[in-house]
């Protein structure tokens, strides 16, 4: 049984078909990349899987269970977390609170106890991404690179079995990109049962870390395979003509 199974997923907006009969799967412990030029439908695909958009047709199965069209928060509670391409921090909350929102508070326990536990867990996560110093800073004062990491800490706080990152390297300088690459790899090795799917533009960063690549173009899957194979795939090169490889 695959961790995530997407079958013939289609999304039409009036006359425009954003995603067309896309099928793929992700297994436990896999690190998969989704790439494609702008407008290929990558983010739409994410939105369909995570419940923010309803598919026109097709199914999404998670751990064997059909989750197509469920409300986003329910999907999160089932174990899929996603980040956003353009960071969406909670501006009025301090960094630590941003992460605490995602934490599932245990019910029934004494209130003071779990508030402390929550804070501790949140701090752990912030340390993992290197943001613990900023913990009380209101999110609106934090720089873009740090916000990207906050985005990831927030997603991790939901303890997902499948982590979907939408362009996590967007807007990062080479140093930050390097740090993030290492973080993702470390996460991947630590949590062996967790699946990670990354949508990304910056191909050199993506290709270095993923085990399998899926290529989308104009809403359709045009190629799938190991990074080395994809790099030599004629159709993919054509589609990316003029882009960096």
């Amino acid at each position: 049984m695959h961790l995530l199974e997407v079958e013939n997923l289609t999304k039409r907006f009036g006359g425009l078909t954003a995603v067309n009969e896309v099928s793929f799967h992700v297994d436990e412990g896999e690190l998969v990349g989704i790439m494609g030029p702008n407008g290929a439908g990558k983010t739409t695909l994410f939105n369909l899987i995570s419940g923010f958009l309803r598919p026109t047709s097709g199914t999404v199965k998670f751990k064997g269970e059909n989750i197509t069209g469920l409300a986003p928060h329910k999907i999160v509670n089932k174990g899929i977390a996603r980040t956003f391409q353009i960071v969406r921090p909670f501006r009025h909350l301090p960094v630590i609170a941003n992460v605490m929102v995602s934490l599932k508070s245990p019910r029934g326990a004494r209130k003071i106890e779990w508030l402390k536990t929550d804070e501790r867990k949140a701090l752990d996560l912030l340390e993992d991404v290197g943001l613990s110093e900023l913990m009380l800073e209101p999110a609106e004062n934090v720089g873009h690179g740090d916000l990207k990491r906050l985005e990831m800490a927030r997603a991790l706080a939901t303890e997902p079995d499948l982590l979907m990152l939408d362009e996590p390297f967007g807007g990062l300088n080479p140093l930050e990109t390097d740090f993030l690459t290492k973080s993702i790899l470390r996460m991947h090795l630590d949590e062996s049962s967790r699946g990670i799917v990354i949508v990304e533009h910056k191909l050199y960063a993506l290709m270095k870390i993923v085990e399998r690549v899926i290529v989308l173009h104009q809403g359709e899957k045009i190629a799938e395979g190991k990074p080395e194979e994809i790099a030599k795939n004629k159709k993919v090169i054509e589609v990316y003509m003029g882009k960096e490889m």
Partner: protein
Amino acid sequence: MIEGIIINGAILGGIYALLAVGFTLIYGVSGVVNLAHGAFFMLGAFMFSAFGPLGVIPALILAPIFVGAIGSIVYRLTIHPILGDDVAIMVVTVSLALIFQQLILLRFGFSAHVAPLVEGWTIIGGVRVSYMKLLACALSLGLFFSLWIFITKSKIGKAMRAVSQDREAAMLMGVNTERLYMLTMAASAAFATLAGVFIASSLLAGQASAYMWLQPLFTSFAIVVLGGLGSIKGTLIGAFIIAYAEHLVANLAPQGGQIVAAVPIVIMVLIILIRPKGLFGKRIEME
């Protein structure tokens, strides 16, 4: 009685279209929910009355220009600084409406007489209709369609449409939004003014009251929501629907005269709860 409803409903519909289009315009172009829109309506009637001694035609021309200018200046001074803060804008525009109300009370007292532009009446389909009503409806619709053509064809109109769709892109293309908004506000206020003159002179037996800014506000809301925020075609159709609904209730419902004021409000609530985008409104898929 049915003929009366049909004829009078149509006349009211035309004038309501003029009233509501100003509201749609300013909301569509700048996103401002102008709670002082009804106040411009009220101001218009009073200014027309004030300019009366200069003659009917001059007054008809001066009043909208005067109120339009006020609208524009007031926009620049009080709304422009807080653009984007929707709740603050609501508070400020309500306060403005109150200020206008008080100013009028101070200067003119409770009410003023708004003289009709033409006297006399005729019979249409067995119903007695004053010439003023016909003129009001004709002028309203004429102005409405002129505006529609202006927005579709002219350069400024295109700028307005561009800004209503994507403000930042329009700014990048060189549209000076500040001045455009001021112009839109002026136009919005001017149209409300004329609607005020028409309704006061033809339907309220020539009486304008300083407190009459709340009701037209609700009517505008109802029409704009029914027709769909941002759709001019919707405003036209919505205006007629509301006008007919009011006439039907006034004539057929028990205590109709008293509850007719609630008609636009109830319709508005129903539309928002059932089909918020109205008849022709734009739809947003995700956020």
